[in-house]
Symmetry: C2
Subunit: 400 residues, 2 copies
């Protein structure tokens, strides 16, 4: 597996475009398009939030067919809770794109991200679509990844290539997400492309596993978006022998797809609003994976732990208090806690490890907290970031 350039347009047959049509107050791009010259197999996941954007409702419905060829994305407006226009506007965006690309409407998906509760400026978008379709080419992967940003401070894209029986297969991806990031479809938006030839069910299973192991394992602030969507387009242009479920080719493809999705998920955490640290919470030897997951998420979402990391202060007592209050019954006398490789609490009691050694661990950019329950054989992990004054500033000042 090798890292390559190009992002979402790295795989054969994909092109992208982005324009500013006036949704954002700034002159940054706010409308983007991804297009495949061939019809794609589609795998997709959407937010589990009960209150969801019209764009999500429409795309989820279309995605059921399992095929797509383009997706139009707007940033700066979530197209959510703005009324009956939501689905109509999303449909209109898709219809305009499909007309200009000469595709059937059902092949064009829609994604939105931004402020909730305001109607889409559909006129401006209509106008933008004309330029958008004209601008499609194979150089605008990075521009696409920048156009979908809201409070993100960096754009996020990755592409890799692998070799399967002499055929080069590429996977590209772009994502955005910074706030309102929490377990269960945390990306807000992620777009994956591949030119692999792969059977439909294998594609679906691989993507489900990737989303579960990456985007659904991160949390910035415990707030789940109304608009989270992840799409994987596979246009089969690589010409490889079809990848079948369970084959060695499948596991090679899965490994590359995981690498890409995990890479993007980590980029989102590192670009978490105000974040300065990447934090991995591992819960080991729990009675079940579910219990490990609940504790890891509870610790990851603790404001006291996140501010402790922001302050570089190795106060493991806050971790102990959080473990105890997760709702999962734990035996205190069995619980070990590690900061990095240092055992700070053994069987529920302070180990009196030197404070200086811990301070050094907390100075690092990446911090690992391991919780060993010694009560079973299951484990899980969650990635998060610290909670800084900057997070509060961003979210207190974010303009509605």
């Amino acid at each position: 597996m090798k890292l390559i350039k190009g992002g979402i347009v790295a795989p054969k047959g994909f092109s992208a475009a982005a324009v500013n049509c006036g949704i954002k107050k700034s002159d940054r791009d706010d409308l983007a398009l991804l297009f495949s010259e061939e019809l794609c197999l589609l795998a997709a996941h959407f937010t589990t939030n009960n209150i969801r954007s019209g764009s999500v409702i429409l795309s989820e419905k279309k995605a059921r067919a399992g095929f797509a060829q383009a997706v139009i994305v707007n940033s700066g407006n979530a197209n959510c809770c703005s009324g009956k226009t939501e689905i109509r506007d999303a449909e209109e965006m898709a219809a305009l794109v499909s007309k200009r690309l000469v595709l059937t409407k059902s092949k064009v998906l829609v994604a939105s991200t931004g402020i909730i509760g305001k109607p889409l400026p559909i006129r401006a978008i209509k106008k933008g679509i004309i330029f958008l379709v004209k601008g499609l080419d194979r150089t605008k992967g990075t521009r696409f990844s920048k156009a979908i940003m809201t409070t993100d401070t960096v754009h996020k894209e990755i592409a890799v290539k692998i070799n399967i029986k002499g055929n080069v297969i590429k996977i590209g991806a772009a994502a955005k997400g910074s706030g309102m990031i929490c377990p269960n479809m945390a990306t807000m938006l992620a777009f994956f492309t591949t030119d692999a030839v792969i059977e439909k069910s294998a594609l679906k299973i691989a993507f489900r596993e990737c989303v579960a192991g990456s985007f659904n394992r991160i949390t910035v602030d415990g707030d789940m978006s109304t608009n989270d969507s992840a799409f994987l387009f596979a246009n089969a242009l690589a010409g490889n022998r079809c990848i079948k479920k369970g084959s060695s080719d499948y596991f090679k493809f899965l490994k590359a797809l995981k690498f890409v999705s995990l890479g993007l998920a980590k980029k989102i955490v590192l670009d978490g609003e105000g974040a300065t640290k990447f934090v991995e919470i591992i819960v080991k030897n729990a009675a079940s994976q579910k219990k490990a997951n609940i504790i890891a998420r509870h610790v990851a979402d603790s404001s006291l732990i996140k501010t402790m990391i922001a302050g570089g202060d190795p106060n493991w007592g806050r971790v102990a208090a959080s473990i105890g209050s997760s709702g999962v019954s734990v035996k205190r006398d069995k619980v070990d806690v590690y900061f990095g490789k240092k055992l700070v609490m053994k069987n529920g009691v302070s180990t009196s490890v030197a404070r200086n050694a811990l301070l050094n661990i907390f100075k690092k950019k990446e911090i690992r907290i391991i919780i060993d329950l010694k009560s079973g054989k299951s484990s899980d992990k969650i990635w998060t970031c610290d909670l800084t004054e900057e997070y509060v500033r961003i979210n207190a000042e974010y303009e509605t």
Copy 2:
């Protein structure tokens, strides 16, 4: 019912004392004692955290008897996760107090608050107890309430008197709590005193109802302490006819006790670390109280909503996103949201209410958010505060 002075020593027969014995680095009081000249009926509630302080373990065991006459409290050290010394130290504190007050050990309770993971400086405490017992008098209610503070910026005490069939009955209380405040015994520490004559079961039921409706309905940061404890001492010195469960006297007493506990709970929220606003989240017309409670807590603990309130920005879309992600299934098309008295979302859609009117609501010190699910007849409420840069500063800089 009338507000009176004196705090926890307002009721007949109670005295208090406080000293600095050297637990805190500053010269502020860090050891406090509450004493009743007569044996008291006791009602008590403790943290539901699985990982709990030795002081909680000991006091919970003693509280089962239902009687007590004194409680010693230290601030600056949680006596938690520091090893086998925890319970022994708590026992020793109680034993020393009981010896000096000539009481049986079982009548003296212990409470601790402060940093987790460090052994109590038991020698310093022993020395402090000598002065503490000597200092007991009926003027030190306020000093007691100050001695139990940690990151609190104000001391918290209330006392009231009521008249039951010609007898004056007094209720006094002191509490501390500022961070690590979350539903289910959020006080960290609360002490109630009364001179009422009341039957044991009535006292227990009244206190349970008060704790559930006050301390268990507040959240500052969703982090639950290892040390939360609430005690109610009733020494029967008022000489009234015994208050029986379900009588009109009982409801009069209950009303006064609720007033005091609710008052203290609100003081804790308002003194939440870095807090500048008091926020009431009301969920109405839910299918069950439990569902209403889950949604109200979820919204109250949302960092995005708490920072929005800090910024004075009426972005109700964040409330919609939070309602949808609480885990409780809601029908979006039925959900109304109010900021103060203004309807901002009706049936899941923006009402386009004037932004200026909302800005004025958000300038107030107390903000009410009402969520009407129109899906049943149950309701619940949670009190919380905003999340400010100051919260992060306090918790990033809090010295371990």
